[in-house]
């Protein structure tokens, strides 16, 4: 089977047709892949090079922890890849959403709808774990929605602020 993978903006086409062989971007390697009894741990021998990784499916990505670093890998099989291509779906979505990374209380909202912000600007101050945490704009753009206010209690992953990609893009967004 063919898989299309993407990690840190790098693409790899991977063919898995045999148990002991894998082809990556046209190059074939001998492999031995084992999943260990301990949840999430895998061992891979690839041309006898040994790699251990913790691998876990989380949302729409596979998280791989290797040598201390965490990689978020998007894996699509041929069918879903083709479907996505045909629909012209971009993988970029929600890039301008600022969500609460943890439950807490909103201390301040230093931006309002219509403000032009740059990536890294403070948009929310959230108190949680007894600390004031600054949530910053994930990209340059214009604030198109502010869905909270100082004093509000918020849940993890609650949408707080939406920043549109470009200045001209201000439009009414459909409520989820």
């Amino acid at each position: 089977m063919k898989y299309y993978t993407q990690v840190n903006n790098q693409d790899f086409e991977i063919d898995i047709d045999h148990e002991d062989e894998i082809t990556v971007n046209g190059e074939t390697y001998t492999i031995d892949f084992q999943t260990l009894a301990e949840a999430g741990l895998t061992s891979l021998l690839i041309n006898n090079r040994s790699l251990e990784g913790a691998v876990e499916e989380r949302g729409d990505v596979w998280e791989v922890l290797m040598l201390g670093k965490l990689y978020a890998v998007k894996v699509q099989d041929e069918r879903s890849y083709r479907l996505a291509q045909a629909r012209g779906v971009t993988t970029e979505s929600g890039g301008g959403d600022v969500k609460a990374p943890m439950p807490g209380m909103i201390i301040a909202v230093p931006v309002s709808v219509g403000d032009v912000v740059q990536k890294g600007d403070k948009v929310i101050i959230l108190e949680s774990m007894k600390m004031e945490n600054e949530l910053r704009a994930p990209r340059d753009g214009v604030v198109v929605q502010v869905r909270t206010e100082p004093g509000a209690s918020v849940e993890k992953d609650q949408l707080l602020v939406v920043i549109s990609e470009e200045k001209g893009e201000i439009e009414l967004e459909v409520e989820e």
Partner: protein, 508 residues
């Protein structure tokens, strides 16, 4: 022996641990090594925690929020009495530095494994602490008295000079503290510090203090018995901090030589003796670039980073705490204490270093700790453990030891690579980049380094995108085959497309 300042020492063979997490485990281990029975307490969130499972007895003390469980003094005293525990070890955080709790223990004839209540009270009040140690000849940082109103502080600030710090009288761990570099920022900083201090400690009294720039945070570990003996166990270098939260600690320090160590040690002993201190404690100093040192505060408890001192001195600090609380004399004199080798501790936190170090909540799914020569991991988490906003975000302390600093740095690098934690984001990548950085390797850093001159973009280490993609694809492939086999055993000739659609239906 019972003293008027709230110190009770007597023999005990059963001890209640008024804490949770890694420090509860640390205390429990010391107790079991000394043949002391242990009583754990736990909130509703911690039923499955290791400190509950490893203790001899365990008692539920209420709901997950600490103020309804671990902070309720009367519940802890009640459990101690019910279980027959004759002593309480508070660990760090929670009730460790509450004089009222220490006094309550003593009033109930329970040994509080820590200093006398009076010493906690004096050192817990930053202003009284400054005055007390100043009178004992200890150098302090210039600043204002507490209790001034905003206008008076603004006026006083010009005399102290910028940069300066706004600090909460009741503060600690960086809460209620604000650095100010320009006069026009002072009013906002005072307001923010007051707000944070009021929320965290119920007290909005703040004061100003001169900020020592290019300062290192170096602290001296002390041990004192109830017979008038106080010794220092060398220093810990704790300059690598972010928002006043320590991230990496080591012992010894790059900048402390034999002479400075002795001078700081003697001053620290004098500060402790000024409050008739007993048990373990730590004097924190700021050391400027000319190696002048100033008293910052005294932590009247066991510290998170105590293991680095244990490794270079060979002294088990928690066991010594238990011994002196039983009324015994210290087993060491100052001459017995020598530092050998080098130890570094990395605090592994559930936070995302690539996203402004935001805390990462969630359930830990996989944990495998590094082991092998010179590696120690103090932790209280396990697969299934949930990182919640109720408690702090520390997952563990990874401590390495080596003959030389070079050896311990290489060992730490190896141990960080071996560590596997899944389910939440951790700051392991931060530590990996830090221990590889030129400034860390050459010891050229101060307390502002992490915030002002360190960047995660400095990572020039190898990345393994292709290998990660391969592992993910293989795992996805294997999961697909496995799922389709469950749906349709014996339909081996069915096309892959059918398997796939069945698998997808199953997972919906």
């Amino acid at each position: 022996m019972k003293r008027e300042d709230g110190l009770l020492t007597q023999k005990f063979d059963k001890l209640l641990i008024a804490n949770r997490g890694e420090i509860a485990m640390r205390i429990l281990r010391a107790c079991h090594e000394l043949g002391i029975q242990t009583v754990a307490v736990y909130s509703d969130a911690d039923r499955n925690a290791p400190h509950v499972r490893y203790a001899n007895e365990a008692y539920n003390i209420g709901p997950a929020p600490a103020r309804e469980s671990y902070l309720v003094m009367d519940k802890l005293i009640e459990v101690a009495k019910r279980s027959g525990a004759q002593a309480i070890h508070p660990g760090y955080g929670f009730l460790a530095e509450r004089a009222e709790f220490a006094q309550k223990c003593v009033d109930n004839d329970i040994v509080f494994v820590g200093p006398p209540a009076r010493a906690i009270a004096i050192m817990g009040d930053k202003q009284e602490a400054r005055q007390t140690v100043k009178a004992a000849g200890v150098p302090i940082v210039p600043g204002t008295e507490p209790g001034l109103n905003d206008e008076e502080m603004v006026a006083a600030a010009d005399n102290i000079g910028y940069p300066l710090l706004v600090k909460a009288v009741a503060g600690g761990g960086g809460k209620g503290m604000r650095p100010v570099h320009r006069a026009e920022d002072l009013p906002d900083a005072i307001a923010a510090a007051r707000r944070e201090a009021l929320a965290a400690f119920g007290d909005d009294v703040v004061y100003l203090e001169k900020m020592i720039t290019e300062a290192r945070h170096i602290e001296i570990q002390l041990l004192a018995d109830s017979h008038g003996n106080t010794i220092y166990l060398g220093e810990r270098e704790c300059s690598l901090q972010r928002r006043h939260q320590k991230l990496i600690e080591e012992s010894p320090s790059f900048v402390v030589d034999e002479d400075l160590r002795r001078r700081m040690g003697e001053v620290a002993v004098a500060a402790a003796e000024a409050v008739h201190y007993a048990n373990a404690g730590t004097i924190e100093f700021l050391v400027d670039k000319d190696k002048n040192f100033y008293f910052l505060e005294m932590n009247t408890r066991l510290q998170v980073e105590h293991p680095v001192t244990e490794l270079v001195t060979g002294i088990d600090i928690v066991q010594e705490m238990l011994r002196v609380a039983r009324g015994r004399k210290l087993r060491f004199t100052q001459e017995d204490v020598t530092l050998k080798g080098w130890a570094i501790e990395c605090r592994i936190n559930a936070e995302d270093p690539y996203n402004n170090y935001l805390p990462s909540t969630g359930t830990i799914t996989t944990v495998r700790v590094p082991t092998g020569p010179g590696v120690r991991v103090d932790t209280g988490v396990f697969p299934g453990y949930e990182i919640t906003p109720f408690y702090d975000s520390m997952i563990s302390k990874l401590i390495c030891y080596g003959e030389t600093r070079g050896e311990v740095v290489l060992r730490m690098r190896r141990a960080l690579q071996e560590y596997r934690i899944m389910g939440v984001k951790t700051n392991i990548p931060f530590h990996q980049i830090m221990v590889e950085s030129h400034r860390f390797l050459t010891g050229q850093f101060d307390t502002s380094f992490v915030e002002t001159r360190f960047s995660m973009d400095e990572d020039d280490g190898e990345t393994h995108e292709m290998e990660a993609a391969i592992l993910a694809a293989l795992a996805a492939h294997k999961q697909g085959l496995h799922a389709s086999q469950i749906v349709a055993p014996g339909e081996r000739d069915t096309s892959n497309w059918k398997w796939l659609s069945r698998w997808e239906r199953l997972r919906r």
